[in-house]
């Protein structure tokens, strides 16, 4: 994509009347003014300067929506063709900014305060006290440590997904049937999966997997009692739902490799194994890196299965950061501390992902 200039070259001669431009400016500034006025009025209500009988912040929300619409309309009015182009991106930008940037800034404020939603005292600013508390909270560090293990499990998932993609790419019959069958786990909701597998199939007495384990000679199968096995069970369930995702990306990559490359390697005398490691695998590196990176992003959000199956147990062995914060809120309504934990998690993720992406960029670049 070129950095400068439009890809679509159009010459338009806008002759916008000055009245139109003035009207456009007027609605943009006017609605902005109303928004500010509304916000000030409502702040006054909350601070107790005056009483207007407003019970919630809806009026400000409506003022914001009006302003957003007027801003989009005003762009077209004042800038003509350029404004119409801006209209493609502007709604999405406004939407994302108002739904992420604003809550994030608000979140920083919450993170620096002692705020228990169930207590009557309301929000109290307490500076970095939450940070100190986090530093001394072994359960949070434990959850972060668990996340490292969960992310490392992606390597195994990747190997399995690659194998499946190779199988699907081979000369087989009923390819479509296998593809659909392999895809289905991805369609299922993690909550349903946690019942289907976690609570019924892995049930120690009657679950079919437990029966199978007994048949194999494990007398007292228990999948969530021992910390290590519990962690493995969670990993397996998560892998079960998400392996299709990586598999499909890798399959798309495999199908994009021209057949001639493989044939040339075979003519040169490469065996199947060497052909894979020296031809297919290097060619697949860019796709692999993308698939693994996206999978890591999804893995870092892992929570549903943990919340519904083990709620972090035994002894925090399966806890993820998300499920830990979820319980921090559910059990103690502790909004301030929970938000701080989430913010720290975000900072760690951003740093880790930046490093990973830099490394991946170097790895995926074709070797010369």
């Amino acid at each position: 994509m070129s950095q400068q200039g439009d890809l679509l070259h159009v010459v338009t001669n806008d002759d916008l009347s000055s009245a139109r431009i003035a009207f456009g400016r007027a609605i943009m500034w006017g609605s902005g003014l109303i928004l500010v006025l509304m916000a000030v009025l409502q702040t006054g209500q909350v601070q107790g300067w005056w009483d207007l009988g407003l019970t919630n912040w809806r009026p400000t929300l409506y003022a914001y929506l009006t302003w957003a619409v007027c801003l989009c309309w005003g762009q077209v009015l004042t800038r003509g063709e350029q404004g119409k182009r801006a209209l493609f991106v502007l709604p999405a930008v406004l939407f994302v900014v108002s739904l992420t940037v604003f809550p994030l800034l608000f979140g920083v404020l919450i993170a620096l305060s002692d705020w228990n939603l169930s207590s009557v005292s309301g929000r109290r600013f307490n500076g970095t006290a939450n940070l100190v508390r986090m530093w001394n909270d072994p359960f949070y560090w434990n959850a972060l440590g668990n996340m490292v293990w969960y992310v490392l499990a992606i390597l195994v998932e990747y190997a399995i997904a690659f194998g499946l993609a190779l199988l699907l790419n081979a000369q087989i019959r009923a390819r479509k049937f296998f593809r659909v069958a392999f895809l289905l786990p991805l369609m299922l909701s993690p909550v349903a999966v946690s019942w289907m597998i976690g609570k019924s199939m892995l049930e120690p007495r009657f679950g079919p997997v437990a029966r199978f384990a007994r048949w194999l000679g494990w007398d007292t199968p228990s999948f969530f009692g021992d910390p290590l096995i519990a962690k493995l069970s969670i990993m397996v369930m998560d892998a079960w739902t998400f392996i299709p995702f990586m598999m499909i990306m890798l399959l798309a990559g495999l199908q994009a490799i021209p057949k001639e490359v493989q044939e040339a390697a075979r003519v040169d005398g490469a065996s199947g194994w060497r052909g894979f490691w020296e031809v297919t695998f290097p060619l697949m590196l860019p796709v692999s890196v993308t698939a693994v990176l996206i999978r890591i992003i999804f893995k870092l959000k892992l929570a549903d299965i943990v919340i519904t199956v083990t709620s972090g147990g035994p002894g925090g062995a399966t806890d993820t950061v998300t499920s830990f914060i979820f319980r921090e809120y559910r059990d103690r309504s502790n909004v301030g501390y929970g938000t701080l934990l989430a913010m720290v998690y975000l900072v760690i993720i951003v740093i880790a992902m930046t490093i990973l992406m830099k490394l991946a960029d170097r790895l995926a670049r074709p070797r010369t």
Binding site: Q3, A92, P103, L104, I294, I297, T339
Partner: protein
């Protein structure tokens, strides 16, 4: 007749047979692996569906095959009010289930539609024009959208809880729709950007020369061409939003509960009947299973979009 002429016709010499044996072995290996993984993928689904027709003894004795092992009973479906004999009568669990089902349907459909709308527009704009919002150029804006993928839901959850409380949006469908749109928007933009980049600009140029405006050209010429990509993005969003649990569990309580929250709330209690739980799970996953089987092509297309450049 010489031996040299014979070999090409009858391929049963020592070397050829060895080759054929190896070929057969590799076939067996490939199909064996495929079948094992098919079993791993399908057995949990099969188990859930069949368990919903079991009774207590069938569960305890580990019966697997209906009719052969055990006589199917609609106990599980009766507890949901969906068995043939209870279907006609009023039933509280069924009303509850239908309410959750409708909530899930409305929320996921609206969020996916909204995300598709905003996402396609943004992706088209970014693939065709160059923008400057302050210091941000096209590449920065794209990165800004895609970087939302990294944002873990838990970071937004608690601020949203407080904000929604102030805005009286807690436990409403609108609140969930907005949030879900936000979570799937980066994925839609990713898929659609790829889609639009593959459409030559000459198409619009011709349309613009013919006197169409930019928006008319986008709506009447580009969108129909990009339709397969849009379907892929829509279905992927639908899957993600239908299955979402975390936000729904935090932000809804009685009115706007979605199906995953209902399923999860039943798994908590230990004494729950397996058959009714299985029936509920089956009902929750069935729509997406059907979607997956029928529209597998589009889902794969959508997910492959970002992989191959």
């Amino acid at each position: 007749m010489t031996a040299a002429a014979e070999t090409p016709i009858f391929r049963d010499s020592e070397a050829d047979l060895a080759h054929r044996a190896r070929w057969a072995a590799s076939r067996t290996l490939i199909y064996g692996a495929l079948l094992i993984w098919t079993l791993i993928c399908l057995f949990p689904i099969y188990w859930t569906v069949t368990t919903s027709f079991k009774q207590a003894p069938d569960v305890m004795q580990g019966h697997l095959v209906p009719w052969l092992d055990y006589e199917p009973a609609s106990l599980g479906w009766r507890s949901l009010g969906l068995s043939p004999d209870t279907l006609g009568q009023p039933s509280t669990p069924r009303a509850e289930f239908i309410k959750r089902f409708t909530n899930s349907l409305i929320v996921s459909l609206s969020a996916s539609t909204l995300a598709l709308l905003l996402g396609s527009m943004a992706a088209y704009g970014l693939s065709r024009f160059s923008y400057r919002f302050g210091f941000m150029r096209n590449a920065d804006i794209s990165f800004f959208f895609l970087s939302q993928l990294i944002l873990p839901p838990v970071v937004l959850a608690l601020p949203f809880l407080v904000l929604y409380k102030a805005l009286a949006l807690l436990d409403t469908r609108i609140g969930l729709i907005l949030l879900y749109t936000l979570t799937v928007l980066p994925i839609v933009i990713w898929i659609m950007r790829d889609q639009f980049a593959g459409i030559p600009t000459e198409l619009e140029e011709a349309a613009l020369v013919d006197g169409l405006t930019v928006w008319r050209a986008f709506l009447t010429i580009i969108l129909p061409i990009a339709l397969p990509g849009m379907v892929a993005a829509f279905i992927l969003s639908l899957v993600l939003t239908w299955n979402e649990y975390f936000f729904a569990a935090l932000l809804t309580s009685t009115h706007a509960n979605t199906l995953p929250v209902m399923v999860a709330s039943q798994t908590g209690s230990q004494g729950i009947n397996w058959w009714s739980m299985a029936a509920l799970s089956t009902a929750a996953i069935l729509p997406l299973l059907i979607l997956g089987i029928l529209l597998e092509r589009f889902i794969i297309k959508g997910m492959a979009a970002g992989a191959v450049k």
